[in-house]
Symmetry: C2
DNA sequence: CTCATAACCGACTTGATTAGTCGGTTTTAA
DNA sequence: TTAAAACCGACTAATCAAGTCGGTTATGAG
């Protein structure tokens, strides 16, 4: 049960942009001490999943696709690594499986926690 | 955010023993359709962490170290893969980090969910 | 117009972790 | 005494996480 660096970096980058407005990849990478090349892929993911908008060329950069109070931590985690802890689809035993319940509970509580916080909550 | 096969198998094995009493490795592996060799290591882990007791020789096998109502799902997960989602120890920024809070929340809700269910709850 | 800047894109590498295998040893009770 | 069972350590294959690299495309400032 651990959160990948990718997700950790992604959240930090989103928070950085929420706090400072439009920023370039380089600026974010430097401020947050993250590898530029790695962060690039992360920001691309966030962009193609509708959490960031990007602008090419000089004076370009990344900015939030929505207001901070409309972006949920859960969306970031879901984009960068997913929240489903156990894949029961396809398992024949799923109907009668005694352990399925608890994995469903874990998923629910994870969702609950991650969707109860927006970027606005986090930058305070 | 996913639960390893090791943990999934471990929980299923614990449930199997809770339902059926003392069982041998082979019996559990067959009933739960898990590789014998892999399950062996899992049961060893559960034994050395005080969740199972084992008996060698003929008519040996594994049984619960405590009553099912005294064994928490969280103990099983903690033994087989750990619950801490993000390691902030050693990070210089931890004091002022805006994202630390949410990872703490995730950890708390995970603990809450996993320690609110005992094996007894699960076998019903 | 052009050029520096910045995002886009795909392929590749490296190391760690997961999931599993295998061969042999020790203990126990029927 | 012997079959059944747990114990033990080393090994392997596949997958994934994390990071690197080289080049392409778009854009606005000068």
């Amino acid at each position: 049960m651990r959160i990948s660096k990718k997700t950790q970096y992604g959240l930090r980058a989103m928070i950085h942009i929420a706090k400072n407005g439009k920023k370039s990849l380089k600026e974010i990478a430097k401020a947050e001490n993250i590898s530029v090349d790695f962060l690039e892929k992360i920001l691309k993911d966030l962009q193609s999943n509708g959490l960031l908008v990007s602008k090419k060329g000089s004076s370009g950069g990344y900015s939030l696709a929505r207001k901070p109070e409309k972006i949920y931590a859960g969306e970031i985690v879901e984009t960068l690594e997913g929240i489903v802890p156990v894949e029961c689809e396809g398992c024949q035993m799923a109907r009668i499986c005694s352990s399925k319940n608890i994995w469903d509970d874990v998923k629910d509580s994870l969702q609950e926690t991650l969707y109860s916080k927006t970027l606005k909550d986090l930058i305070k």
